[in-house]
Amino acid sequence: MAGVRYVGASRVYAKGAKPAVDLLDLDVKDGEFMVLVGPSGSGKTTALRMLAGLEPLDGGRIEIAGRDVSDVQPKDRDIAMVFQNYALYPSKTVAENMGFALKMQHVPKPERDRRVREAARILDLDEALLDRKPKALSGGQRQRVAMGRAIVREPKVFLMDEPLSNLDAKLRVQTRSQIAELQRRLGVTTVYVTHDQVEAMTMGHRVAVLSGGKLQQCASPRELYDNPVNQFVAGFIGSPAMNLLTAPLTEGGARLAGAMVPLAPAVRLAADRDRLSEIVLGIRPEQMHLVAAGGADTGGGVGPGGSGASGSSAGGDAGSAVLAGDVVLVEELGADALLHVRLADDGGSVVARAEGRRPPAPGQRVAFRVQSADVLAFNPATGARLAG
């Protein structure tokens, strides 16, 4: 039973300055893999260090397994941390590094050795490496030693501070899945900090998005992707990022690229209530389906079918709109291609995902169909999602 709770936790560095962590309320369940994600300066590392006891709290409290640990020394919190730069002791061997915490706890040597060997086995660390010093190891091996140091302690909570950021891209992908699988196997509550939303989406049971010290949204990756609660989360989660375009409101909906994007009644209601004259539309790259000149969808688009209307500003049917634009750049990724398109009528720039085999060429005029059900709407001033 080792959940973690942040209850109104705050940290302010200088009097009168903006809080680094602002009234954070977060509930991590026992055995859960919680990822704290956000851009630099969002407070995620500070929040992790507050949990570790390396930063004091200026407000609120933190609980581990139901116990208030706000004033408890780091070594007594029954946690283990993996640092971004591994923080291995250079003068000690790998085995001594991993066993150091146990030595401090006066665990007898045979037991220490057993646990170190066990951790090495779990992490696929060759026994021969146990007698080497960190400087004789590769980056990936050092990272595993850092994790081994944490595993050996059998703590209630694992804390990880961007442990993959010093690895090369390929190793990162490999290690990412290893860490996730390890956590599922050991079942230890884990709080993991990263700035990489791909790591967040693939590893976490739930993801907490932070910005400016405040929690934006905490939900499962799926929920964050499909139902972002504000513009920040919508633009942060998903790669390539969601297209966010400001569009003026008119009678029929929102005007974008010379077309009329229909809006759900609930969204209209919310926009009217907030007295908005324009809103921010959010459309994911894969939700922009390339259409042929005749208005029919190309490449397997699913929507209510082309209405047969031709011309660049054809409205499509009530549930969709067709947006036209010029291709500026094509990024070919193999299986798909990313089209950077400048929309007609000063609509702004968007990125759309298209089939990789024969993408349109730069300079070509294209049109996309978007379903109004896929379009999200946000308040331009506050960034809040308009109900829908």
Binding site: A52, L54, K75, F83, N85, A87, Y89, S91, M104, Q105
Partner: protein, 296 residues
């Protein structure tokens, strides 16, 4: 330096010229700097070389101008230094005790002090640091009067303990500054990891910090040894025979009535040997310690 002087005057002359003459210019400029480096190095070394060579000359032919480099070497002067009228052994012994003793005291005191001024700074650490350095701003000549009186009253005049205490006081500020700068190089993450692992203050110092700063400790100790070994002023004024050090022996080898160059050179060579040996043995640590943190 003609190579350097020539280089800028060389203009590209051949069609394939520009690249080749730039390379030639680079190489001749590199050669020029190399020559300059060697010239300066040798210029610094020549007096020492002269001293060592003169030590092996018989007294009669020692003082000649221009200096003779061909002669039949003899150990006569060295024999006089060790078993002549005033043998050098007691002086060497006193120097060794004062140097080693004061360096040990310095290291034992400077390590915790540097810790308290870097890793876990105490309140007012900046003032403490300035206080330590300010003690070096006082000319020792100004302090010798009061020091003499204190030594007299505490019956420490002409005592080796006095030298150990004073040399320790003399070297402590420098040692604290140096060790502090090495401790600042210890990565904060490592200290936090140790804190999380449950290392208390003592363990933190012995298990984590000391292994990392040990090259710095060696270079600090070496600097302290050099300063203590070569210190003359305090030894001259506060000791007579019981604690007289090597520098004083050298002074006494410069008698009023005429200059015994070979004898002096022999004594000076003997005086330099221990420090040179220590420096040679520790040179790798010294370079690493002095440049620690420069390349991260």
């Amino acid at each position: 330096m003609t190579a350097v002087a020539d280089a800028p005057a060389t203009a590209p002359s051949t069609p394939a010229g520009p690249r080749r003459s730039r390379r030639a210019r680079e190489m001749s400029s590199l050669a020029g700097w190399t020559v300059l480096g060697w010239v300066v190095g040798i210029a610094f070394f020549i007096p020492v070389l002269w001293m060592v060579i003169t030590a092996f000359k018989p007294e009669a032919s020692a003082e000649t101008w221009p200096p003779k480099f061909t002669f039949s070497p003899t150990l006569a002067e060295f024999r006089v230094v060790f078993s002549g009228a005033t043998p050098a052994w007691p002086f060497i012994e006193h120097s060794a005790i004062a140097t080693v003793g004061s360096t040990i005291v310095v290291l034992v005191l400077a390590l915790p002090a540097a810790y308290a001024l870097s890793i876990r700074p105490v309140r007012g650490w900046r003032d403490s640091l300035f206080f330590f350095i300010s003690t070096k701003m006082l000319p020792v000549v100004a302090a010798i009067g009061p020091l003499y009186v204190i030594a007299l009253k505490t019956h420490l005049l002409d005592s080796i303990w006095l030298l150990i205490i004073l040399y320790a006081a003399m070297n402590l500020p420098l040692a604290i500054w140096m060790i502090r700068s090495f401790m600042l190089e210890v990565p904060t993450e490592m200290l936090e990891a140790a804190r999380l692992d449950g290392a208390g203050r003592i363990r933190e110092i012995t298990e984590v910090i000391m292994p990392v700063v040990s090259p710095g400790l060696v270079s600090t100790a070496l600097i302290c040894i050099i300063f203590a070994w070569n210190e003359l002023f305090l030894a001259l004024n506060l000791t007579v025979t019981n604690a007289a050090t090597m520098p004083m022996f050298l002074i006494s080898s410069v008698p009023q009535e005429g200059l015994y160059i070979a004898h002096l050179s022999a004594a000076a060579t003997i005086a330099s040997v221990p420090v040179i040996i220590v420096g040679w043995v520790a040179q790798r640590s010294l370079v690493r310690g002095l440049s620690m943190g420069a390349i991260k």
